[in-house]
Symmetry: D2
Subunit: 345 residues, 4 copies
Amino acid sequence: MVIVMAPEATQGDVDAIVEIIAAAGGSAFVSRGVSRTIIGLVGDIDQFSTLNLRGLRGVADVMRVSAPYKLVSRDNHPERSTIRVGGVPIGPDTVTLIAGPCAVETPEQTLAAARMAQAAGATLLRGGAYKPRTSPYAFQGLGEAGLRILADVRAETGLPIVTEVVDAHDVDLVASYADMLQIGTRNAQNFALLQAVGGVGKPVMLKRGMNATIEEWLMAAEYIAQRGNLDIVLCERGIRTFETATRNTLDVSAVPVAQRLSHLPVIIDPSHSGGRRDLVLPLTRAAVAVGADGVIIDVHPRPELALCDGPQALVDGDLDELARVMREFPPLLGKTAAGDALATV
Amino acid sequence: MVIVMAPEATQGDVDAIVEIIAAAGGSAFVSRGVSRTIIGLVGDIDQFSTLNLRGLRGVADVMRVSAPYKLVSRDNHPERSTIRVGGVPIGPDTVTLIAGPCAVETPEQTLAAARMAQAAGATLLRGGAYKPRTSPYAFQGLGEAGLRILADVRAETGLPIVTEVVDAHDVDLVASYADMLQIGTRNAQNFALLQAVGGVGKPVMLKRGMNATIEEWLMAAEYIAQRGNLDIVLCERGIRTFETATRNTLDVSAVPVAQRLSHLPVIIDPSHSGGRRDLVLPLTRAAVAVGADGVIIDVHPRPELALCDGPQALVDGDLDELARVMREFPPLLGKTAAGDALATV
Amino acid sequence: MVIVMAPEATQGDVDAIVEIIAAAGGSAFVSRGVSRTIIGLVGDIDQFSTLNLRGLRGVADVMRVSAPYKLVSRDNHPERSTIRVGGVPIGPDTVTLIAGPCAVETPEQTLAAARMAQAAGATLLRGGAYKPRTSPYAFQGLGEAGLRILADVRAETGLPIVTEVVDAHDVDLVASYADMLQIGTRNAQNFALLQAVGGVGKPVMLKRGMNATIEEWLMAAEYIAQRGNLDIVLCERGIRTFETATRNTLDVSAVPVAQRLSHLPVIIDPSHSGGRRDLVLPLTRAAVAVGADGVIIDVHPRPELALCDGPQALVDGDLDELARVMREFPPLLGKTAAGDALATV
Amino acid sequence: MVIVMAPEATQGDVDAIVEIIAAAGGSAFVSRGVSRTIIGLVGDIDQFSTLNLRGLRGVADVMRVSAPYKLVSRDNHPERSTIRVGGVPIGPDTVTLIAGPCAVETPEQTLAAARMAQAAGATLLRGGAYKPRTSPYAFQGLGEAGLRILADVRAETGLPIVTEVVDAHDVDLVASYADMLQIGTRNAQNFALLQAVGGVGKPVMLKRGMNATIEEWLMAAEYIAQRGNLDIVLCERGIRTFETATRNTLDVSAVPVAQRLSHLPVIIDPSHSGGRRDLVLPLTRAAVAVGADGVIIDVHPRPELALCDGPQALVDGDLDELARVMREFPPLLGKTAAGDALATV
């Protein structure tokens, strides 16, 4: 950490800080500039966290120089991780396609969507039984009945299930059905929920909060990791900006940035960021090309009847192009589509 | 609702929509323009919500023309509401000062902060026992022990308590101690929590999500209201923008906008938005002047030792000025400081 | 246009509006809903623009339903345009690589950078002689001396020149050297400059303002088009958001959105958006994959000595990978790298 | 400045930097931490600006610790400045009301608006003859004819004139009529224009760019100051955020922040930020209460006929309340309304 002193700080202010740091077991190096003095702190950052340095006399600013996350940081785990979900890999060597309906509505709709997903090369099935909706008057999902439908469709298709959990006290229930738990963008700082999924022993897909910096996203992952669960996949899904032509602004730069800071896999959700079907395929191509370790996509057999996010679901006619993207783009990145990776086992 | 057709939409597309609307029990009025046709829908908006109009052939855009919230809307309740918390009013006739420590740390610290709050004219005590923190390594609050301290300080000072709840399943416990439950900015779309506080029969202070539009904030209030609880106070606390000189950007315009759209009282938190002590008093003056129905402010007897948000807490020397603001500004708005309102009863 | 009346609007308010619209030569269709009345306006939007409809009694909102730009709109020109710069195409069939130094510093540096650009497959040379800098104390460019260097390097390499103009009254001078004029992000709403480049008869590359919506960007293009110049290439270069890990957030979704709204070609600048060399190649891949009609990239023979934006310039070791991206990705989009397109002529 | 080394940086990397700094005439102090080494640089920041430190081997980050602006900084000029415009003060002791029509349309409209402004206590007249408009099809102002109208109204009313200039080459012309030149939000980084107004010897009102950080705003002021003109008034007018209920988000915190960083006066424009008449008076109260040194407000005798921004103009019925705010609020801040300040001379 670096402390920047105010121009009017006195020698006494500087001495007092040096003493406080020493008392906390650290060392302080003073650099006296023309207009400002800076103090470099050496020691464990956690030692200093309760000192409230910013409140000390003469202090103008305190800058951190190392990351506040540890378990998910690449500093301490230089090799990038591969997470396995029901045997399906998500990691640096593959591009995993996760697809399915935004919300589970009926057994028929879910099975039809799963077949569409498979036709496009998906190796994991997405589908929501609990839907966090902005309006209390909107469809909130089928709950456990939806989980049962997902389990039946898994039995039928062989696709492991990714599904969202929205309340800490549903975690055990959802985990008893799901192969991977999803934390949605609105719960990206619901710390009680993060801790609960950290303790349940299932892989977690952590969507970036639509207002979260990359650092905050990694801190949310740290909450999960700290409970002993490092099977975390980060999912970029668009951030909130001033632009209104798209629902959110997909931040593709976040993929290489997060992959450099953390060893966790990073995937992209091109359906929810744009909120428009005509953007899904271009953004899927961009996602694979920027180096994402996977994509998660809404498909629906009859989107005009969908109870949730119908306007962004891919339809039958889009699947060939999606399959082509998953086939042709990963090799250019030195990656294998996860479907092909499994097929060749 | 208004449907805007694409330039290439056919007469058949328009007819199909008119039919669908009629089948749903509504009426559709077609206005054929030079380059575009628009269709005005008349009927209950809820009738149309499952129709997925945006997915129909030839539709370019669908615009809502009425608000999606109802119970909290001023359309249906033109008079602005006054909420009472342990007898203390928050509403159009008063400016209520809520003050106290960001986090409850010890009985002594909490009592000292409460005395500071009273000295400045506060009639409600704030203090957190459960703290949602970005880092899992930061102080997370004392939990129930903190609630007991708050109850003791209430007994000592007579100040009703406002305290945060962060997990749906703690709601009953927190409500058994608190006079008002606070929902923090990170939980502004934690719908399970919103529904839980909607059912517990205590007033709720709902902070605006730092990334929430005013409409989303009112929809979050609607979640609470829908469970039968209309004792809701909205609290603007800054939104996330590109500016980094302040922690968040206090959106004072949100006060008159929300007061016009909703009958609920609207207060401002000038401590957390700026994140800097030197901004708290100027922003408090702006809050009262723009017409806020109250302010909620961090005070701490020794901020340099605070376990949470010390840099923004007011200290002893600031209290006289805070008291002056609370005394001199409300009358210029035709309001009474809530402390004076109680004193004259 | 659609006028939404306030709930309290009277029949008289509605009648008055119908009359005003009729007097302006348009027609008004009234749809009376349960809680709101809406009025659809039919006629030329320009007729209504001076009416200040929002200020009329009883009006709650006025919504536009057609785009405010015309000459650049795809509505009136469904086929996407190809612009030629010194013979080099930028358009739907190609992916054009524009590369060179951020700033022209010396003849040697500029020539070396141009050779690097050519080695990577570039067919146009970028280079700034006038640099808009946030600080008045930073290097502001060589001015006309820089233009002369660019002209010499063009003579030596055969690469047409793209260079920025920052002042309306330099437009003739810059146009006398350049093959394409660039409008930078800080001048995206400098209307005097936009009009000046509209009148000079050279192709224009219009960077998106870092705070401009896609609609405002197209309106800026309309300013140029209105002066008779339709040889415009739109360039997405990142928008300002709350994220600080990157200088700006590259909005790749803007490419398919703008291509759908406008017939003009759309390219991406992956160097300035990220501001970091390690992001340039991933973002270049994403740019080509999302469907951009070209990319513009900083290269520098010795970035550690660059007078401007050195940290983001590609170096020699990156060129092979850039060349590979330009060779392998465009065919997957049904496009040809512009270099190959020229080579096969 | 502080250089933060990457974890993998070697001793040789550190030594190389120390040497480079010494060669540039500075000193480097090395603090070796557990995981990172930091190097504090002492010397004139301008010495280091061409070194491209970020590009050196082993460097992870470079942090500035002092402000990049000088002439406008309060560090070098601790006392806050008062600027005089035709004898009217704008500064720490006063609250100056500037009012008038958004655009000059006719002599009658301008005179009527000026009389309204005076009735509310204004001591300066605003009015635009050159209007930067998003659409090329919108009214662009009367140009020099508008300036003549302003001059006539000044002669009639005695109110000095504040008017916008949008092109560097109109500066002399506009300055020959105006008492104060205004730089609009879209030209906040039009450096050619900033330099031109820096050289013309008239006070300048510099609006904050709607996407400018406070630091960038002060750097824009530095461009003007560097040409010898320190008669600059900063004007906060709202920044662009995700919120769409208001045109922009008025950043009242920017007033105390800018007043602390710079000695220049800071005023607020409550008309353009909200874009809605019903917000103007609440935001004016907030502006004065937060400590702004003045406000600039749109008034129009018949806003429903205004050619520009009619929906936000105050009308006759609002003037009494505006006059009351200007009379009652400044004394609570220890300030005098500028009108009263003049009256008592």
